[in-house]
């Protein structure tokens, strides 16, 4: 996978992020002008009146105020505020009240301590930490509407190049939409302090061409292929407590506390960014998640080496 670019808010690839950038240029322009005028006047004043005066003991003329000047410098900023507000309101409404087209892709993102559950309700897909969406272009607009929720504490969904933040608040359902116009991988992470591992709650959004997206969907929808060589591992998975927290579609395991593992190996990281998803890291993770991510809510399962090898051999078949 090509490395993702820096999540720069000024390098948008999605419509709402473009709109925010447009608005920001307007605001930055106004503030820059104000800064230049005021700071310029300040520097001028400091230099001109800071020079050693001819007769330092004589007090300068005492100017108590000027109604006209004070009125002017109150009214002008007020007018600027009015203009700024009207523009702000237009963009706020424009982004927040975007109507959802009937065939838009719907995703539900659920914040957990400290990972993201991703569901595609209409497609029957459940995955974790990595979101795949189709690219949108003028001929085939394909926005994705995201419902943002939380099962525990407050989190915040933020992929800067795609949209502004949307908080994941327990007991509340929020909505945000994206419309990526460029294929690629974009990153983000949780933006609301949610406890110990708030820093390791990364997000990856992969934007595919429409064909590749359909292929991804098909792969995710199909259950993992049964492989005879890993029966031992599969038995371990079923008999140990794994199935209490994890789901693998097509098997009896249907736990919902932890990420869905049906297509575990299709994701690029473990533990929402705690480590790259390789068989070695996977083995180390299962042995002791706390080694990668202190305080992760998955317990160390205390398996011996043989059990670990068997289990991992099974897990790597979950593509």
């Amino acid at each position: 996978m090509t490395p993702a670019p820096t999540p720069n808010i000024f390098a948008p690839v999605s419509t709402p992020a473009f709109q925010i950038r447009e608005l920001s240029f307007f605001v930055l322009g106004i503030t820059a002008v104000i800064f230049v005028i005021v700071a310029g006047f300040a520097i001028y004043t400091l230099i001109r009146f800071g020079r050693r005066p001819a007769n330092p003991d004589l007090e300068p003329a005492q100017v108590y105020g000027s109604k006209q000047i004070e009125l002017a410098w109150t009214v002008v900023p007020l007018l600027i505020v009015v203009v700024l507000f009207l523009v702000t309101a237009r963009y706020t409404w424009g982004i927040e009240r975007r109507a959802q087209p009937p065939d838009a892709l719907e995703i539900t993102v659920v914040g957990n301590q400290w990972w993201w559950e991703i569901r595609y309700p209409k497609l029957g897909i459940v995955t974790a930490n990595e979101i795949h969406v189709p690219v949108s272009d003028a001929a085939n607009p394909a926005p994705t509407f995201i419902t943002v929720q939380s099962v525990d504490v407050a989190h915040s969904f933020w992929v800067p190049q795609l949209a502004g933040k949307m908080d994941a608040i327990p007991n509340k359902t929020n909505r945000v939409w994206i419309e990526p116009r460029q294929v690629g991988t974009y990153v983000g992470q949780c933006a609301e302090y949610c406890g110990l591992q708030h820093a390791v709650m990364l997000l990856v959004v992969v934007v595919h061409s429409q064909d590749q997206f359909r292929a991804w969907v098909a792969a995710q929808q199909s259950p993992p292929v049964e492989q005879g060589t890993v029966t031992a591992g599969r038995e371990l998975f079923s008999s140990l407590a794994c199935i209490n927290c994890h789901t693998v579609r097509g098997t009896p395991s249907n736990g919902v506390f932890g990420p869905d593992l049906t297509h575990l190996m299709s994701r690029s990281t473990l533990g929402a960014g705690a480590a790259r998803n390789t068989p070695e890291n996977l083995r180390a993770w299962v042995k002791d998640p706390g080694a990668f991510k202190t305080g992760a809510l998955m317990p160390a399962m205390k398996l011996d080496d043989t059990q670990l090898d068997q289990l991992v051999a099974y897990l790597v078949t979950l593509r």
Partner: protein, 562 residues
């Protein structure tokens, strides 16, 4: 015209009891004092102790973040550090300094003998001390969740439901809750005290319209405190009830609302930061005219602007919540109120510049700090406007951009004016001048270090770096920026150390100050340095805002111009 008596010899029988000798006796005098001047000094000293502690916490965090993947401190310690850093700086440094200066200066500026309720004053101070001690006791108290004591790790704003028992076992949250509750009660008491004093104890002739601008700022923030601190107390009581009696105010698992806590907290929290900053405006309004040798330009607008900031700032709180999903209507309301509050704030900058224009500027250290404050606060205000634009805020909030913004306000704005105030009033309080040479070292190191750190800090925020993270991935492009940000820390630390040395050294060896070393014009300069315990033996007549100007310029007093 009578001349102002400079030092009134104190008859022996009414000399203050503090002439006792022996360390224990002196300590006793300070502990039992109800004198506003001593309490003021104690507040400021306590505040600076916590400033240093908070600074160490910040330095540790910056060390950790200087490069990706560092493990200077473990994750849970880092989370405790930013919680305590924020809590300490706001509640244990900012508020004590604000009310400590108010304590010291207000009676002197209005010509009264003390505050209206001296014992209540002492009560407020000791609540601060005990609250602060309780908060820091958390490091060693109890059986912490992850082994490093019970210090809270919930952020200074303690969002629910992270603070509920389900998500934060142990007593860490309770330490945060109770210590702030205690200090809060003390703060409200002091605020009420100041309001009563200003309302009833002004010198004859000092109408409200003749009070120094600084006294107006203290009146405004005291009024704000009385209105907005109890809501925090209420929310904290509710949190206590949730945690100890099984109530469900913020317990989302039982239908409670996380957003309700945010509304309550920020209804307090936003005016709180104005309470911290507005007295800094008061300092600038006193210091800049004296070092420009000109009367403040537009006293009436300044006062109205101050009151306006106080009022409007109570209506902006949910701009901290633009991303929680309040809806376009509420988002727009809070956007416009937040932009509006910028107008009276900006107008003040114009007043100060207009005061300097046409004056004869003297660049003593106090004035240097005020000049830097002007530029830095301008930047802070403008980034604040950016944050008021709700959609832009959706990208900027909860990132290092907003951290840079509020450090520009509180460090670049408030701390710089506090240092200006200390260089300005230290001679009055102690009778000795601080060293200008050391002061210039202090100033330049701080200006360079501060801007190096906090200008740079805006950029990781814009590049997607969120707040409150104990480390970050190496491939985001944030490394170099974080390194430069950290590089400013030693400069700022050196600056503060030089300042502390300056204070200690000058207490012994500073040049004698005399009554009015700066040739200033307000009442506090009409008594000795330090003032006698009863403040004024006699007062000059108060017929304008600058009583001493009138005394020095009998041919052109201020009165007819006002």
């Amino acid at each position: 015209m009578s001349s102002v008596p400079s030092v009134v010899p104190v008859p022996r029988d009414i000399a203050p009891a503090s002439e006792s000798s022996g360390v224990l006796a002196i300590l006793h005098d300070w502990v039992v004092t109800v004198d506003h001047k001593r309490l003021g000094i104690m507040y400021v000293v306590t505040g600076f102790v916590f400033l240093v502690i908070g600074g160490v916490e910040a330095a540790l965090m910056r060390l950790q973040l200087a490069w990706p993947g560092l493990t200077v401190v473990p994750a849970d310690t880092f989370n405790r550090l930013f919680t305590l850093h924020g809590t300490t700086m706001v509640f244990l440094f900012g508020i004590p300094i604000v009310f400590g200066f108010g304590n010291y200066l207000v009676p002197l500026m209005i010509g009264s003998r003390d505050l209206a309720f001296p014992r209540l004053n002492a009560f407020g101070f000791w609540m601060l001390v005990f609250g602060g001690a309780l908060l820091y006791f958390s490091f060693i108290g109890g059986d912490g969740l992850y082994g490093s004591g019970s210090a809270p790790a919930v952020g200074w704003f303690a969002y629910a439901p992270l603070t509920e028992r389900a998500f934060t076992p142990g007593n860490a949250t309770d330490y945060w809750n109770l210590s702030i509750l205690i200090t809060g009660v003390g703060t409200v008491a002091t605020a009420i005290n100041l309001i009563a004093t200003i309302a009833t104890m002004r010198a004859p002739g000092m109408t409200l319209g003749r009070m120094p601008v600084y006294v107006w700022t203290m009146l405004t923030v005291s009024g704000m405190t009385v209105l907005i601190l109890p809501p925090l107390t209420a929310a904290q009581i509710m949190l206590l009830l949730d945690r100890f009696l099984g109530a469900h105010y913020f317990d989302t698992q039982a239908g409670g609302s996380a957003i309700l806590w945010q509304h309550f907290f920020w209804f307090f929290g936003h005016p709180e930061v104005y309470i911290l900053m507005v007295p800094g405006f008061g300092f600038a309004s006193e210091i800049i005219p004296v070092f420009s040798r000109k009367v403040i330009f537009g006293y009436a607008t300044l006062v109205v602007a101050t009151l306006g900031i106080g009022a409007v700032s109570m209506s902006v709180w949910a701009h901290h919540m633009f991303t929680v999903g309040m809806g376009a209507t509420l988002n727009s309301f809070f956007a416009i109120s937040s932009m509006l509050v910028g107008v009276p704030t900006g107008v003040k900058i114009f007043n100060w510049l207009a005061t300097m224009y046409g004056g004869k500027l003297r660049f003593r250290v106090a004035m240097l700090f005020c000049c830097a404050f002007l530029f830095q606060f301008l930047c802070a205000g403008l980034t604040g406007i950016m944050l008021a634009v709700a959609p832009f805020d959706w990208q900027l909030t909860d990132s290092y951009f907003v951290v840079a913004h509020f450090h520009f306000v509180l460090l670049g704005g408030l701390l710089f004016t506090i240092f200006a105030a200390i260089y300005y009033w230290f001679p009055k309080a102690t009778g000795r001048m601080l060293s200008e040479r050391l002061g210039r070292w202090h100033f330049w190191l701080l200006v360079v270090g501060f801007n190096l750190t906090f200008v740079t800090m805006h950029f990781p925020g814009v590049l997607g770096m969120p707040r409150r993270i104990y480390t970050y991935p190496a491939d985001r492009g944030w490394d170099l920026l974080n390194l430069v940000t950290t590089a400013g820390v030693p400069l700022q630390a050196a600056a503060v150390l030089i300042f502390l040395f300056n204070v200690v050294y000058s207490l012994r060896h500073g040049a004698p100050a005399g009554d009015n070393p700066w040739e200033a014009w307000t009442l506090e300069w009409a008594t000795s340095s330090p003032p006698p315990v009863y403040n004024f033996a006699t007062l000059p007549p108060v017929t304008s805002r600058r009583p001493l100007w009138d005394v020095q310029h009998p041919d052109d007093p201020d009165g007819p111009h006002e």
